[in-house]
């Protein structure tokens, strides 16, 4: 650390500490405000446009087949794929025989079982059905549909989402370019229709034109699990997040339908949850090419619901992530697959067909990431675990560090060094996880907010 940084940090820490303490006490009171705009940490600034730019001439809807799940074999070659798969199988067996903590039968069972709800869904399937499932519409009940103001509707939707398990919720006008052009071999198109539908014959998925709003949702993952990554315990952090997301989007869509409107629930399908979350002000795009939120850092799963219910929208936010990621680079250094970008600045240069050109980002070598999932035999979330923004916030120091980083980007490097010195981000012992006194779902549900 430079001496100048040290003095600056000492000077500012006092002020920021006081403000943070005041903020922490005030949070509770603020939460009682009946506005659809929920209070965010004081160091979060609402802005009119996301910081990272879009090149309008280049940015188009993405064919989901090109992401690494869709084209993995194409990207790494069949031979490499088969080798990798065999290696993964051998390793799985070896770890199993050795009873390696994190890779034993019980560790893997935890992760696999946590997928249970997620596996029942898919694009327009199960909980993610595009049409009404169980609720009765106002029409069926013989009453008029909901007709409150967009402000009130936003409040209702956000509160319902929180109730169904969201950590934060934001609303944005849907930018259709964030919606995939194709999925499951079908074109996704917008039409002037009343209800969304699938046409198997014409191979098209139709979203009604009137669905102009996107509700962006984040869900906390258990940081205790993610910190054990890569391992079965770590993987369970992701899979439980996915199952909870499945329920969240399903329930929220049904809530909106019960109000008399159309709702299309989505988790990983349909389009970029990250881009929608950025527009809706849930967080900023980071070096991992994923979202960092002010409240939970990168430790969130994302989902979304499209709707025609008129809603008051939120603005994007900034809180210093762009500047922080420029100097931190910890995720890139610690990524076991060496998949993440080391560039100082985000740019428009994609790394391969798996990235969608036309938007500014720290693009990553995704095939390396997915290859490592095979190698580790249990996926990976190291980039989340090591991020200095992924904290449980049980002490005021995290609030002070976040606030300082947001306000004085110069301190990013210093905080990253301190974070490492204090041992944050080190891989935790999966065996110890089994002995922890865990809160429900492994998360602190008293934090968060409506976004």
């Amino acid at each position: 650390m430079k001496r100048r940084d040290f003095f600056l940090s000492t000077l500012t820490t006092g002020g920021i500490a006081a403000t943070s303490g005041f903020y922490a006490c005030n949070q509770h009171l603020n939460k009682k405000n009946a506005s659809s705009q929920f209070s965010r940490p004081w160091w979060v600034k609402r802005i009119n446009k996301p910081l990272l730019k879009i090149d309008d001439t280049l940015y188009k809807r993405f064919d989901s087949k090109a992401n690494v799940f869709g084209s993995f074999i194409k990207y790494i070659g069949r031979e490499n794929f088969l080798k990798l798969r065999q290696k993964s199988r051998n390793k799985t067996e070896k770890f199993f025989k050795e009873k390696k903590p994190g890779f034993r039968i019980e560790d893997r069972a935890l992760a696999e079982a946590a997928w249970v709800l997620s596996r029942t869904g898919g694009l327009d399937r199960g909980m993610r059905s595009w049409n009404r499932q169980f609720v009765r519409t106002p029409q069926e009940k013989g009453i008029k549909r909901y007709s409150g103001s967009p402000e009130r509707a936003a409040l209702l939707v956000k509160q319902a989402a929180r109730y169904y398990g969201a950590a934060t919720v934001g609303i944005t006008q849907l930018d259709r370019r964030h919606i995939n052009a194709r999925e499951r071999g079908m074109d996704i198109i917008f039409e002037k229709v009343n209800e969304p539908y699938q046409d198997e014959k014409e191979k098209k998925l139709v979203i009604p034109d009137k669905c102009k709003y996107a509700i962006a949702l984040s869900l906390q993952m258990s940081l205790d699990n993610i910190q054990c990554s890569p391992s079965g315990i770590g993987s369970a952090g992701s899979s439980l997040g996915y199952s909870r997301a499945e329920y969240l989007v399903g329930a929220l869509a049904e809530f909106i339908r019960a109000l008399g409107y159309t709702a299309i629930p989505s988790v990983n399908d349909l389009g970029s949850s990250v881009a929608i979350a950025v527009d809706a002000g849930l967080g900023e795009l980071s070096r991992t090419n994923r979202l960092i939120t002010p409240e939970f850092g990168p430790n969130v799963r994302l989902a979304k619901v499209l709707t025609d219910l008129p809603l008051k929208t939120d603005k994007p936010i900034r809180f210093g992530i762009l500047e922080f990621c420029k100097v931190c680079k910890r995720c890139a250094e610690q990524c076991p697959a060496k998949a993440l970008s080391f560039k100082d600045e985000p740019d428009f240069e994609v790394r391969g067909l798996w990235n969608n050109p036309g938007h500014q980002a720290w693009f990553e070598e995704s095939p390396r990431c997915l290859s490592y999932w095979q190698e580790s035999t249990s996926g990976c979330s190291r980039c989340i675990a090591v991020c200095p923004w992924a904290k449980k916030d049980k002490t005021i120091i995290h609030e002070i560090v976040k606030a300082s980083s947001a306000k004085i980007p110069l301190l990013g490097g210093f905080f990253t060094t301190m974070d490492e010195t204090f041992g944050y981000g080190e891989q935790k012992d999966p065996e110890k996880w089994w002995h922890m006194n865990l809160p429900e779902y492994g998360i602190d549900t008293t934090s968060g907010g409506k976004g």
Binding site: A17, D224, K391, K392, K394, T395, I396, I397, H398, T421, F422, G423, Y424, E426, K428, K432, M436
Partner: protein, 79 residues
Amino acid sequence: MKKNNSYLNIKIRKRAWYIWFLWFIWIIWIVFWIDVTLGSLKEFENRAFMISLAITIISIIFGIILWHLGYKKPKKSNH
């Protein structure tokens, strides 16, 4: 303090304003590190817990020593 027949003579020395200020800073510093220590414990962050515990203990000991040193009357020579 000196015994004088049946009276007790107590000398009250006025502390400079900045001493109170330093004392206040010290208390805040200690409270802060106690918070970090307890927080790290709750977060199962072992290293953070050990470091902050060490800082807390050292700060308390150092503070007490300095406090006493500062208030020991400097011994004047009788010559």
